[in-house]
């Protein structure tokens, strides 16, 4: 199988469309015949990252690089960045405001959950510049 690259702009203004990129990737993986376990791990990890881009960073760009052996998800934004990545990785740590909690998010579980479902997670972040998540899932 030739590697496939899928690319999406994630709209930071519209909470209701958040998850469209993850949904499209999930459908593509299903069509390509990946196992349900791999598809679910990619879907959850990417969706958590996509939601983070919308609620914390005003949107950004999502890319999926798909090959037989591995799936790489890259989520890049120009949001406020994460000052203390170790702290952000802790379960329960969240800076999400009340209105985000009212939408059902902001428990501080997203980043730990991405780590749990991926084989590798790299976070590069510079305050005031933006954040890039690189998620690797082996198939």
């Amino acid at each position: 199988m030739e590697p496939i690259v899928l690319n999406y702009q994630v709209d930071g203004e519209d909470f209701s469309t958040a998850g469209e990129a993850s949904s499209a990737v999930k459908k593509a993986l299903k069509q390509l015949g990946f196992s349900p376990d791999v598809i679910r791990r990619v879907a959850i990890a990417m969706y958590e990252g996509e939601i983070n881009m919308v609620i914390h960073a005003d949107g950004g760009e999502a890319t999926a690089e798909i090959s037989q052996e591995e799936i790489r998800i890259i989520l890049a934004d120009r949001g406020p960045g994460i000052k203390d990545i170790d702290l952000a990785m802790q379960e329960g740590y969240s800076t999400a405001p009340e209105e985000v909690r009212n939408l059902g998010f902001g428990a501080g579980m997203g980043l730990p959950n991405i780590k749990k479902y991926s084989d590798e997670l790299k976070i590069e972040s510079t305050p005031g510049v933006g954040t890039t998540l690189r998620i690797l899932i082996r198939t």
């Binding site: 998850g19 679910r40 059902g104």
Partner: protein, 118 residues
């Protein structure tokens, strides 16, 4: 348990994808926090919630769930329903509150044997 039985126990109204009534489900979860659903749920096929936005459907979709039950008589808008329809996720609404709706399903046998602690 069949989804038709879930509908009956919850005295629920079906809002979309009634073709799934024959579908068998083994477990359910109830939460208004999608963060927790994404982090803790494993193989539950029904999501009971009082939260009403498209991310409820997205969360159910990512978790491969088959049915969403909106509690406290809530009815989602067209956008939420069409997203569910598009993804083949059945949607019901029940007058019961979250606690009672979950309790009704649990006490009628909708749970998996074994420990359900995180």
């Amino acid at each position: 348990m069949k989804l038709s039985k879930v509908k009956e126990l919850l005295d629920a109204e079906i809002l979309c994808c009634d073709g799934a009534l024959d579908c068998e489900v083994m477990n359910a979860c109830g939460s208004d926090m999608m963060s927790d659903v994404l982090a803790y749920v494993k193989d539950q096929s029904i999501l009971l919630t009082g939260l009403m936005n498209p991310q409820v459907v997205r969360t159910a979709q990512m978790m491969d769930m088959k049915c969403i039950v909106f509690v406290r008589g809530k009815k989602p808008n067209e956008a939420v329903l069409s997203l569910a329809e598009e993804n083949g996720i059945m949607v019901m609404t029940t007058e019961y509150r979250l606690y009672t709706a979950c309790g009704l399903l649990f006490s009628n046998g909708l749970y998996c044997e074994g420990v359900d602690k995180v």
